[in-house]
Amino acid sequence: MELTLWTYEGPPHVGAMRIAASMEGVHYVLHAPQGDTYADLLFTMIERRDRRPPVTYTTFQARDLGGDTAELVKRSIQQAVDRFKPEALLVGESCTAELIQDQPGSLACGMDLGVPVVSLELPAYSKKENWGAAETLYQLCRGLLKSQVPAPGTDRPGPERWKEENRRPRVNLLGPSLLGFRCRDDVRELRGLLADHGIDVNVVAPLGARPADLIRLPQADANLCLYPEVAGPLCSWLERNFGTPVVRTVPIGIGATAQFLRELCALLGLEPPELREADQRSRLPWYSKSVDSTYLTGKRVFIFADATHAIAAARIASRELGFTVVGLGSYSREQAREVRAAAKELGLEALISDDYLEVEQAMAQAAPELVLGTQMERHSAKRLGIPCAVISAPLHVQDVPARYAPQMGWEGANVIFDSWVHPLMMGLEEHLIGMFRHDFEFVDGHLSHLGGAAAPAAQPMAAPVNEETEVTPLSATPEGGSLRWTASGEAELSRIPFFVRGKVRRNTEAYANERGVAEITEETLYEAKAHFSR
């Protein structure tokens, strides 16, 4: 048993629903108790879809458990096929159905339905949403493409065959799905980016694809693995069986987009992209270089997200915005290795966890000035009074905006610049609050460009705001427990601008502990400051 206040991912069958709902012509029969239809809301409310997800639930109740639930499953399957006439059928279980073991997948396979049936085995008590999505996409494509797989030893066409065939090169965009972070606009941005380089899009999947489109996947010259959490296994399988090479660089951020283009062009045998393309096409490089951004230098940022967005954010934050990354982590265990490597480059130990409390603790420990995280990190950031921007799923309705808001490509970088810098205190205000702390309006922790809410991370739809804006003294009882701040020490600490105060407190206490100093005076604080300055 594991205590969960917030969960980063849903159960694996929600991942399977994401695949079914993202596609056209696919129906999903889900053996699940009454009530599990709540998942429809993720699509009709959060994604604001105008139709019901293509899911038929058996919605069994306690009284059904005495009877024949397998018969209920078969009836639901037959009715779903008759009513919706899908081109392919997914059949699976939710966590409760897994316990009663009716084997709905095998039942469906024995029913002679006249459509391809994919039986999903999604272990709900050990795997989660993204794994469920990846497994479903993989099994669906495998099922549809099995007969096309060339025999071992057959010659496979190379990525440059487009030249011989006298056409433009074409690629698949794999991974975008509903409930993914900004997938809708990422696809549009990438279509434009690829078109600019003379590259066509063969299939986008699962978002918007039909089963017939999946059958065309092998016709692409390369696969772009845009969301490895969802498309990783499929890309590997296509590479193994059809020899289609994969570009695994995810084009989020200026550097990553440029690298992505270089890799793709080299792979397809195209002219390498122009070096100045980023500067011409995106505003982020100039905005970040302009003097107004100087105060961003060294801002301490804590990053926690799915692996793809966490790694991308770390690169943007450290290289393109000049922040100092003080914490990097992800809940995606499947991509833990990549996150660890990215953290190591920044001299950090990656936090791989799906325990919300552990993430909150790491955040408090790192005492950042900005948190880049998921919907969950907004809770912790609110508690700690730290500005926060959302960079990855899990998301809520405000992160499926009406406006064009990609994360990928050149425009994605523009969106990122605006949305990450916005929660921070503006430069002039930061200076003035550092100089004059007796103002009646612009008090400590006040961010007047956010409408003057006293708590920096307060959101308009928030529950009652925690009035305490001071960065809480989380390490107030150090090991040994004998540390004490004198009045002069506290007074000096209160003179430190609020967004770095947590860090200064922690450093000073660490310094005092190290030296065996029991009482922290203003002098101790300055000694610690000198000690830690490079």
């Binding site: 205590l3 849903g10 108790p33 009530g35 429809d40 993720l42 105008d50 739809m461």
Partner: protein, 417 residues
């Protein structure tokens, strides 16, 4: 209210049900009793459900959580009881201000027969009065949406102190403002001892005993009522306090049960009714003659349909309810117009076919169906809002009607050329 109207046989359907499970009740109960914590024992699906419903609010201190069962628990490798004890220990260490802990059963915990009642008892003994631990089931296989509140209140009944004194006990969650208003109106009639369940603090439980008369603010508290009756309380038969008519009858029934002079009651209620009807007038003009289709959700459907028909002039196409308790609806059913088609249970695909065929002007339904129906051209009112809004009482009648008029107004208001 002895009159009976002729209703056709209730349509009983089984098939796919598009409803919430009882766990969802946590979304409003955690606000009603801020000193309580709701710990669901279930799967990741349960955790995902609650946070999808409540996660748009940002919590500095979460008031609910899930003990997620893992493979080790299912395989019996870990003693589920020890695991639960450890986990509750951790939780209470982190949140010492919690006064009542609800262990909430789910489908997985019910299917594997985890005995949460025993667990609650055990932890209670260990905590020695520092925190009270109770349990109820919010599983989808047993409960639908608001029935979760019924379970939670039922679990509190054994903790109520005994007191034989006469008192009025209002059962079912009311918005704070509405609750205060009712208390002051009853006081004006001379009814001083009025208490409510659930209370605002989980430790501030009302007493119960042979002198207790129960007045139901919500129609979905059947088990709670039965548990209270076993402790000597008696239910006052009344329609539910929705709309002017229902609210007046509701308050009058309570006053009558305590032998209060009807003239004094009328002196309090008549001006309210008069003002309530005046406030309803413009909304009635909006809603009159409009055809209404209610899908099953909360058991509030029958009283709502009664109000919308009798006081707002709407025509009822079909009134669906997840569960029909004829005893608790005995005062409501005769007030429905003749020929009203009731349906109990659901086969959502067939019901949607009936919606499409009958082309109602307004469909009351859950959020899984609302946007898709809007896209098909139907005006919808999403039903969960009715559980989250102050809708009870004469003074609220116009607000309640406005909830149904708003989607119709909006459709007239929006124009794109």
């Amino acid at each position: 209210m002895a009159q009976t109207s002729v209703l056709p046989p209730v349509l009983r359907e089984s098939g796919q049900r598009e409803v919430f499970c009882g766990l969802t009740s946590i979304v409003w109960l955690h606000r009603r009793m801020p000193d309580a914590f709701f710990l669901v024992v279930g799967s990741r699906t349960c955790a995902h459900l609650i946070q999808s419903a409540a996660g748009v609010m940002i919590f500095a201190e979460p008031r609910f959580g899930t003990a997620i069962l893992g493979e080790r628990d299912l395989a019996g490798l870990a003693d589920a009881n020890e695991e639960l004890d450890r986990l509750v220990g951790d939780l209470l260490a982190r949140r010492p201000e919690i006064r009542t802990l609800f262990l909430v059963g789910s489908c997985p915990s019910e299917v594997i027969k985890l005995d949460l009642a025993k667990a609650a008892e055990r932890i209670n003994t260990r905590m020695q009065g520092r925190v009270r631990v109770v349990n109820y089931s919010g599983s989808g296989i047993e409960t639908t949406f608001t029935q979760g509140e019924d379970g939670a209140l039922t679990s509190l009944v054994p903790l109520l102190p005994s007191n034989p004194e006469p008192q009025l006990l209002i059962v079912g969650t009311l918005a704070d403002g509405v609750e205060e208003r009712f208390l002051s109106l009853f006081a004006r009639m001379g009814l001083e001892t009025v208490r409510t369940l659930p209370p605002r603090q989980s430790t501030d439980l009302p007493p119960v005993g042979p002198g207790t008369r129960l007045l139901l603010a919500q129609p979905f508290v059947a088990d709670t009522v039965r548990a209270l009756e076993r402790r000597g309380a008696q239910r006052i038969a009344a329609p539910y306090p929705l709309g002017v008519e229902g609210s007046c009858a509701w308050m009058a029934a309570a006053a009558a049960a305590f032998g209060i002079d009807p003239e004094r009651v009328a002196a309090v209620l008549d001006p309210l009714a008069e003002r309530g009807r005046r406030a309803l007038e413009p909304l009635r003009r909006k809603l009159e003659g409009k055809r209404l289709f209610l899908l099953p959700d909360s058991q509030l459907e029958i009283p709502l349909a009664r109000f919308l028909h009798r006081e707002c002039g709407m025509e009822l196409v079909e009134v669906g309810t997840p569960y029909l308790d004829r005893q608790l609806m005995a005062e409501e059913l005769p007030l429905l117009p003749e020929g009203t088609q009731l349906s109990e249970g659901q086969d959502v695909e067939k019901q949607l076919e009936r919606v499409r065929a009958s082309r109602p002007d307004l469909v009351v339904c859950g959020m899984g169906l609302a946007n898709p129906l809007e896209a098909e051209g139907f005006a919808t009112k999403w039903s969960i809002e009715l559980v989250f809004s102050p809708i009870h009482g004469c003074d609220q009648a116009a607000d309640l009607a406005e909830l149904f008029a708003r989607p119709l107004n909006r459709r007239e208001l929006l124009q794109w050329n």
